[in-house]
């Protein structure tokens, strides 16, 4: 069964198209990732799924109900963690949890039990009386997640939950998501970080309001055809200009300290040596396996 089903969804802010012909199937009990750069349309899509967007084109079903007609029923059953985790910074950890629990109509006994359980995985119990605004970024993020879970939803929707959080807290957050998955909760999560794609069971790559690739991370990497080379240089700009001038090369990407060169056929060492003679700043080359980022950049084309 699909917890979320999106068919041919289109949406525009005025004349600016935000989503075009989006199709999505999120199966039950998995971690599903929406991966794409800023302003790709992730937040718009997530808001539409959370029944917050009055869309006119296409259809969305969440937990088997229509998102436009049955919004009240859907809202009661999903947990939503909006972008830039929203908490009441002037309320304590405990008061935040209590407030969202009451808001979703959780009675006080169940609320107490749920809070204990959420404290166990978030390790926030020692900070129960602390103001949310005084927590570290990672702890605020865990509190926001706890608030989205207080009414034991069967589906949680997280919009860029790891944005602006340190790498250690990000790792911890993902391991929490994995244990939630073990408990049978379906998770739909968006992220601009390509390396987090590997944490998901299924992903959709989204760019400029369109889905450009779907499947498991392994499938997407396996679909990468051809060879990929990593080129090193102390003068990357110069090398990049030189390679751009070579007519046979079209798949060139500048990464942090290296250039990735994609090719449909295997490139011989003699070709590289020949280049090195013309452009001495080319210092080394090796064939590598494509990462999610390579795959994404290739699909963007």
């Amino acid at each position: 069964m699909n917890v979320v089903l999106v068919k041919e969804l289109g949406f525009a802010y005025g004349l600016q198209a935000a989503l075009q012909n989006v199709n999505l199937e999120v199966p039950e009990g998995l971690i599903y990732g929406l991966i794409g750069p800023d302003s790709a349309g992730k937040t718009t899509l997530i808001r539409a799924i959370c029944t917050l967007l009055p869309y006119k084109q296409g259809m969305i079903e969440v937990l088997g109900r229509d998102a436009l007609k049955n919004s009240a029923a859907i809202r009661a059953q999903i947990g939503y963690m909006p972008q830039r985790f929203s908490l009441y910074k002037d309320l304590s950890v405990e008061q935040n949890l209590e407030f969202f629990g009451r808001l979703f109509g959780v009675n006080s006994q169940t609320r107490g039990q749920n809070m204990e359980k959420l404290y166990r995985f978030s390790h926030l119990k020692p900070f129960a009386k602390r103001l949310a605004g005084n927590l570290s970024g990672g702890m605020q993020q865990k509190l926001a997640l706890s608030c989205a879970l207080i009414h034991t939803p069967s589906l949680i929707v997280l919009d860029e939950p790891t944005f602006g959080v340190d790498p250690v807290s990000r790792m911890e957050f993902w391991s929490i998501l994995h244990s939630l998955k073990q408990e049978g909760i379906s998770i739909l999560v968006s992220t601009p970080y390509m390396d987090e794609a590997e944490q998901c069971d299924l992903i959709s790559l989204i760019d400029k309001g369109q889905i450009i690739g779907q499947g498991s991370p392994a499938d997407i990497l396996a679909a990468w055809s051809g060879w990929l080379y990593r080129l090193k240089s102390s003068d990357l700009q110069n090398l990049y200009r030189f390679l751009k001038a070579q007519s046979c090369l079209d798949d060139l990407q500048l990464f942090g300290g290296e250039i990735h060169l994609g090719s449909d056929s295997q490139l011989s060492d003699s070709l590289f040596i020949n280049w090195q003679r013309q452009c001495p700043c080319l210092e080394g080359w090796e064939q590598i396996q494509p990462s999610m980022e390579d795959a994404f950049l290739k699909m963007m084309k």
Binding site: R47, C50, T51, L52, L53, P54, S71, A72, R75, A76, I78, Y80, M81, P82, Q83, R84, F85, S86, L87, Y88, K89, D90, L91, Q95, E98, F99, F100, R102, L103, F104, G105, L131, C147, A148
Partner: protein, 374 residues
């Protein structure tokens, strides 16, 4: 039952957040007190210590005693003038607000040779106080002429020259402006706090990003709005108690009318201001914008309410606009109740207007609010 609980939890949360910022609490309760005190003393229509100068070209016994009669009251402060100065110049240089010119031959005229003439020139920039000052000057001269009539010198002023003028100010015999100003300040206070607080309310949640989380909750939009506004309704009514209490203690203004009637009108009026506030709040994106729009509206509302300038003094078109200003009617009501002690039956027109205004504004704000993002 559950819906009430959800509402209660919301109200609790709002109060917890308020209690968390002592500055806000201070603003809510200390500021009204300070405002009432400062404005109560400062904003006054009474005219005191008017700078007055006399150009005495007569230099007679009579003209000197006329000038003297002005020095016996605190309404006037006599500014000495030199011969070289000119009346218009004195006004222009703001040395004097009123100039009285006593022409040569004034005393002689008073003995019946001709009709005595005095020239009074006032600085008319502040129209209200100028008119009042003029009235005081006239009063003084009138009194002086009456004294002259009864004086020992029978040749002075013939009987038919005398004037008889009866001046009486209903409800405010001493022309005490406090009685008019203080209820006005209370009306303004109620408007300002309720509108600013409610305009900020949802805008703050928007700015924090918490609104989205509230929107996905199963709580109904009516609960959301009620949960937001109820605390502000309570706080504004509390503020009003403080203001009424202070008005009684410091300015000795006791309520002439019924207290429950005053509260009933305030409650009805608050539906309009809270409705306007929440309307602004649903349409702006930040607290800053909310503040801007609510202040803009409030300044217009206050200026057109009859707080400073009586509505009946305004041109007809503006009077028409004032009719649609809820504060105009609330201002009338609060003054009528505090000063005159009017009862509900006497205020039924205002009751009807405020009720329908509140119903329309609040209803429209509520209906146009959607549990969706833009």
């Amino acid at each position: 039952m559950t819906s009430l609980k959800v509402l209660a939890s919301f109200v609790l949360k709002e109060f917890r957040q308020l209690a968390r910022s002592p500055e806000m609490l201070a603003v809510l309760f200390l500021l009204p007190a300070i405002q009432l005190l400062v404005m109560g003393f400062a904003v006054t229509n009474e005219v005191k210590n008017v700078d007055i100068s006399f150009f005495d070209y007569d230099k007679s016994h009579l003209s000197k005693s006329l000038i003297e009669s002005f020095s016996s009251t605190d309404r006037f402060r006599i500014v000495p003038v030199s011969e070289a100065e000119h009346p218009e110049e004195l006004l222009f240089k703001w040395k004097s607000k009123v100039v009285v010119v006593i022409p040569a031959g004034f005393e002689r005229d008073c003995h019946g040779f001709a009709k005595p003439v005095l020239q009074v020139i006032s600085d008319g920039i502040d129209g209200n106080s100028a008119a009042l000052a003029n009235a005081y000057v006239q009063g003084c001269i009138l009194r002086f002429s009456q004294v002259m009539l009864q004086s020992r010198d029978p040749g002075l002023m013939k009987k038919d020259q005398g004037l008889d003028l009866i001046v009486r100010m209903s409800f405010n015999n001493d022309l005490k402006s406090n009685l008019n100003i203080i209820p006005g300040i209370i009306a303004v206070l109620v408007t300002v706090s309720s509108m600013v607080l409610s305009a900020i309310s949802l805008a703050k949640e928007k700015e924090l990003g918490t609104l989205e989380q509230l929107l996905v909750s199963p709580m109904h939009k009516y609960q959301l709005v009620a949960g937001k506004l109820l605390p502000y309704l309570i706080i504004t009514l509390l503020q009003m108690q403080v203001a009424v209490l202070l008005a009684g203690i410091i300015f000795r203004i006791s309520l002439a009318g019924s207290y429950p009637v005053l509260m009933l009108f305030s409650l009805i009026y608050l539906f309009t201001t809270l409705g306007l506030g929440i309307f602004i709040s649903t349409r702006v994106n930040s607290q800053q914008q909310a503040m801007f729009f609510s202040w803009f509206m409030m300044v217009v509302m206050i200026l057109l309410s009859g707080f400073f300038v009586p509505v009946q003094n305004m041109p007809k078109v503006i009077r028409g606009i004032c009719f649609f200003n809820p504060l105009t009617h609330y201002m009338t009501v609060i003054r009528e109740i505090v000063v005159k002690g009017s009862n509900l039956a006497q205020l039924r027109k205002e009751l009807l207007i405020l009720l329908s205004g509140g119903f329309i504004v609040f209803g429209f704000s509520l209906l146009s609010f959607r549990k969706r993002v833009k």
